[in-house]
Symmetry: C2
Subunit: 322 residues, 2 copies
């Protein structure tokens, strides 16, 4: 029997991923049809707790708990535990707010009790009232590492502790060869009528998810409209180091064209539609001339709920939804 | 070579134990000479975290972080994580404040990394500036359980969740037969010039510590002045269920005399001096007539630092210190 094919899948990192996921959830009549497959390569162990920044950013954004001004963390947050952790001499470079800690505490307890990351993620998201399905790319640990000046850094060591201010000359995803996709991720892809690659970092968010053995193949096998949104707008990353990574990892100036070229080169034929921002409209003909994919120009900034819903609806329309 | 014999040891539970320990620390010229051997039978696992309420009450009291108005927890506390834990559907009957959580998180991480409870306790207390030595009675888990209506309850289930409002007809300390005293506890006893039993609950605080195989024997072997302070004042417990436990467990009306009789019966010859409150002065002659111990009448309430220091100094004087 064929899969239901009623679902929508989005591959998501943290900042852009959470906002794109939010837009799709807002645009869908039934947000329960949406599955976000979320990067876990940024995860870290801190004070014995398993912290999953991208999963949590998506969860807080969809539940309305995100601190939208910061772009990370929880609103109405307090910092008492962090202050006390500092008094105890624990490292404080990665800020864990008090509300946020509740998430990490319960997740860690569940993982230690043998629960899968997918299961505890679904339980936490459900408790916060989220109808969409939040699925980690894998229940197995994958840890993205970045090489800078010959030294391999853990992702958050690079991203938070060093404020992604150092140049990255290589990326690897430790553990990814042995990681199995979360079964729920594969099932969602098999049951999707559309697959969206959020405007997340192609090297350390989308690239990490697609590096999990079996996920890219499952997307190809699904054979449904696959739509990627460029995270580079007007030559710069909306947030984070993606623009600098295009220079140091792909050897190209950051641009929508560079994003498309990178996806074409790294996962040939995977993506059927590229969405680039109106700021990059002038580049669209050249990008289109270089490959068979459809190039769509629209506003891709996702600051507020209305912008998010509108882009979500446009993408669903591109996938054949009215 | 004989032990140094310069130390003072106090056996302590939470509320009365922390205040007595504080008084001795304030009265000693060098609080580093003080070792508190603390009950861990009240410990619990909550959300995967190891919580040690008595150790923490002593630690917060000695460091000035105690919420003295409550008698438990930390001052300047916030409750954001607890609020979020509740949203996630986690049990909330045992309140964990945000600052307090930092303690449990670091302790749990250390224990999982293989550190002894004694070691991590010393590290946390040291970080809060405590000169006295805080030592759990054992590095091995002991869990006090109370029987009520034929059902055995974990200590905090009885004490916090049921507000110690049910009648206890038996007490046991699960794991205590196999528990070894913390080596630092035995060393402190061997090096003590005086041993104090704080005005903590004789059944579920002092009794738990003395139930750890080897601790009572070590106290006898030390052969130094051993002084117990009654937790029953004017026929009632200063705090908690000790008075009701005298009725249901010892079959006697709660009184200073009942405390002395219980200690005489349960650990004969262990204690040389009993300190009872001025409210119970009229009972002193009858108590003294019943046994060889010295009975000392003085103020034993320990609300403020000055009351604590004064009782600490009086006890040190009773032990032969000027």
């Amino acid at each position: 029997m064929a899969a239901d094919r009623g679902g929508v899948v989005v591959l998501a990192g943290g900042f852009g991923g959470s906002r794109m996921t939010h837009g799709l959830a807002l645009a869908l009549p039934d947000p329960g049809a949406l599955t976000a497959i979320v990067n876990t390569g940024d995860d870290l162990e801190l004070h014995g707790l398993t912290v999953c920044p991208d999963l949590d950013t998506v969860m807080y954004t969809l539940s309305g708990w995100a601190n939208e001004a910061n772009g990370w963390g929880v609103r109405e947050e307090t910092w008492s535990a962090a202050e006390m952790l500092g008094r105890y001499g624990a490292p404080t470079w990665f800020s864990l707010g008090d509300r946020d800690l509740a998430t990490h505490i319960l997740r860690t307890a569940a993982l230690r009790a043998g629960e899968r990351l997918t299961t505890v993620t679904a339980r936490l998201a459900g408790a916060l009232g989220i109808a969409a399905h939040l699925v980690p790319m894998s229940d197995d640990p994958v840890r993205t590492e970045l090489r800078t000046d010959g030294e391999w850094l853990a992702f958050q060591d690079y991203f938070v502790r060093r404020h992604h201010a150092v140049e990255v000359d290589a990326v690897r995803h430790a553990g990814v060869e042995a990681a199995r996709p979360a079964p729920e991720a594969l099932a969602a892809i098999a049951g999707a009528r559309a697959i969206v690659l959020a405007p997340s970092n192609p090297f350390v968010s989308i690239g990490t998810i697609l590096a999990v053995p079996g996920i890219a193949d499952a997307i190809r096998r699904a054979g449904v409209p696959t739509i990627a949104v460029s995270p580079i707008v007007g030559g710069a990353a909306v947030r984070g180091p993606a623009d600098r990574m295009f220079r140091s990892l792909a050897g190209s100036e950051p641009s929508a064209a560079a994003v498309v070229a990178h996806y074409r080169r790294t996962w040939p034929g995977l993506i059927g539609t590229f969405v680039i921002d109106t700021l990059d409209a002038a580049d669209a003909p050249a990008i289109a001339a270089d490959g068979p994919e459809r190039i769509v120009v629209t506003g891709t900034l996702l600051h507020g709920a209305e912008e998010r819903r509108r882009l979500g609806a446009e993408i669903l329309a591109l996938a054949g939804d009215a």
